[in-house]
């Protein structure tokens, strides 16, 4: 999904997030994490089982995104996953949204006002007439 100028990558997480699946998932998202100012949303609606390795992987991804001035947000967390995030004190480190759409929208929502006005103006202004 493309909000403002940079794309937001939405990635659906697997049903089980243990040491093995976390490693595989990290390999999958690695290309997106090493881009400039990555904007990622992890859709956790299907996650039924989350363990310490899974939470560690989430924090690693968030840390990588922050290093490159980007951000990682979580969406649609299942109650089972929410319990583990709360248990490990990791839930307070993430922005968590009800749906991935809300999470994607939030990336444009926090732009400085001047920049948002500029983007809106550009979007609504008629295309310059051809000479």
């Amino acid at each position: 999904m493309d909000t403002n100028s940079r794309p937001v990558v939405v990635k659906r997480m697997p049903e089980r997030l243990n040491a093995r699946t976390s490693r595989e998932f990290l390999q999958d998202v690695q290309p997106f994490l090493i881009t400039d100012r990555p904007q990622l949303v992890f859709d956790m609606s299907q996650v039924k089982q989350l363990d310490a390795a899974g939470v560690e992987m989430l924090l690693r991804c968030m840390s990588e995104a922050h290093k490159r001035d980007g951000d990682l947000k979580l969406a649609g967390i299942s109650p089972d996953a929410a319990v583990v995030l709360e248990l490990t004190r990791a839930e307070r480190l993430f922005e968590i949204y009800e749906t991935s759409t809300d999470a994607v929208r939030s990336f444009s929502g926090f732009l400085p006002n001047a920049m948002r006005q500029h983007l809106l103006h550009r979007k609504h202004s008629p295309a310059p007439a051809a000479a």
């Binding site: 490990t88 990791a90 922005e95 809300d102």
Partner: protein, 387 residues
């Protein structure tokens, strides 16, 4: 007057197919604040002068009620012939000369005034009397021992009906249905706040803090009243137990973990740097009462069973003991300055050490003032910094 009691403990009816049970034991056998509802019921019966008690359970009884066995208390286990055995036990009591039998099915826990119940039963010249609480029947009966057929019809119908009409006895005291985690938690709160007749087990070491023998608190661990720490439970450095929490016997709470408004059932191990709030933890199962969800966590780094075997405990303790002096000597000769223990505030702010390389993220309390600026679709505000 020869009054005896027949206590029934059932498992099968309690486990629903779509729900994960917190423990394989029935709630009547789960030890909460040091004693199970069964033990508390037995204590109360003995206090009321009922010495001859027969307990029938369809699950394996834990060791503690056995230790608590007094004269006249017999424990039998049977899964298939549960009701038939109950009927036979009633007949045995009648043959041995009992005049009244108190039949108590331990699904919930009720602190019935047995003296008043028996008096009301005798005054009404009833054959069978049943306890009612807030217009709902409780599975506690007073039965004249000579009325074996009435008792048989009651037991054959699994306490659903009797062949005769019988009067009710209104109970106004304490009652807890013990239907799952929420009731179990409420039961612990009620015991710790002394709303029940039976007090917490162990010694009150400070006002509102009860501890049983062998409970160990490492340096920096805090227990804030009202709270309970069971026998041989271990709270490691910087662990905090607060807000009516109970850590039952042989459980372990690791470094820097906070137990808040929660019950940790016996033989549980809680990993380091965790926040256990509004929960009931039984082995690998955690019931979060605020979210109303029961989760099975298959990660022993987070929650699991503590070392239970005597041999295993002995080997672990011996290894710790033998390695202590060489370790200290090594540190003294080759080590640099002793690592500083983080203060309790720092320990509580950081993410759990079980998260490996991602441990130690600072996560202080939420900036609630700033939260209003965010859109309503935001479910949780990130709580670090002051953004």
């Amino acid at each position: 007057m020869d009054i005896r009691a027949l206590v029934l403990v059932r498992t099968a009816t309690e486990i629903l197919e779509d729900s994960r049970p917190i423990s394989p034991l029935p709630s009547a056998l789960l030890e909460v604040v040091g004693k199970s509802p069964l033990q508390r019921t037995l204590d109360r019966l003995h206090r009321f002068g009922v010495q001859q008690v027969t307990v029938i359970s369809d699950s394996i009884l834990p060791s503690n009620p056995g230790d608590d066995r007094r004269d006249g208390t017999y424990l039998r286990s049977s899964r298939e012939k549960f009701w038939r055995i109950a009927e036979a036990a009633f007949s045995d009591m009648a043959q041995e000369g009992a005049e009244l039998v108190l039949l108590i099915a331990l699904g919930g826990y009720a602190e019935v005034d047995f003296e008043r119940l028996i008096q009301a039963h005798l005054d009404r010249q009833a054959r069978v009397s049943q306890v009612f609480f807030e217009n709902r029947p409780v599975e506690i009966f007073c039965i004249s021992a000579s009325r074996r057929n009435d008792a048989a019809s009651l037991l054959r119908s699994r306490l659903a009906r009797c062949r005769i009409e019988y009067p009710f006895f209104e109970h106004n005291g304490y009652f807890n249905p013990l239907n799952g985690g929420r009731d179990l938690r409420q039961f612990a709160i009620d015991i710790l706040t002394l709303r029940t007749e039976t007090p917490p087990s162990g010694v009150q070491v400070r006002p509102g803090v009860w501890m049983e023998r062998g409970a160990r608190l490492e340096k920096g661990a805090r227990v804030l009243a009202p709270a309970f720490v069971g026998a041989f439970a271990k709270l490691r450095a910087h662990a905090v137990v607060t807000r009516c929490s109970s850590v039952e016997h042989h459980s372990q709470v690791d470094l820097g973990t906070v137990i808040e408004n929660s019950t940790i059932l016996p033989y549980c191990r809680i990993g380091a740097g965790l926040d256990v709030a509004h929960c009931v933890v039984g082995g690998e199962v955690l019931a979060n009462l605020r979210r109303d969800v029961t989760v099975e966590i298959a990660d022993s780094q987070l929650i699991g069973y503590a070392v239970t075997g005597t041999m295993e405990r002995f080997v672990t303790s011996a290894a710790e003991f033998l390695s202590y002096l060489p370790k200290q000597a090594w540190r003294g000769v080759f080590g640099k300055t002793a690592p500083r223990q983080p203060d309790i505030q720092a320990a509580l702010r950081q993410t759990s050490p079980v998260l490996g390389g991602a441990a130690g993220y600072e996560a202080p309390a939420c900036d609630t003032g700033g939260a209003e600026k965010f859109s309503s679709s935001l479910a949780v505000v990130r709580r670090y910094g002051h953004q």
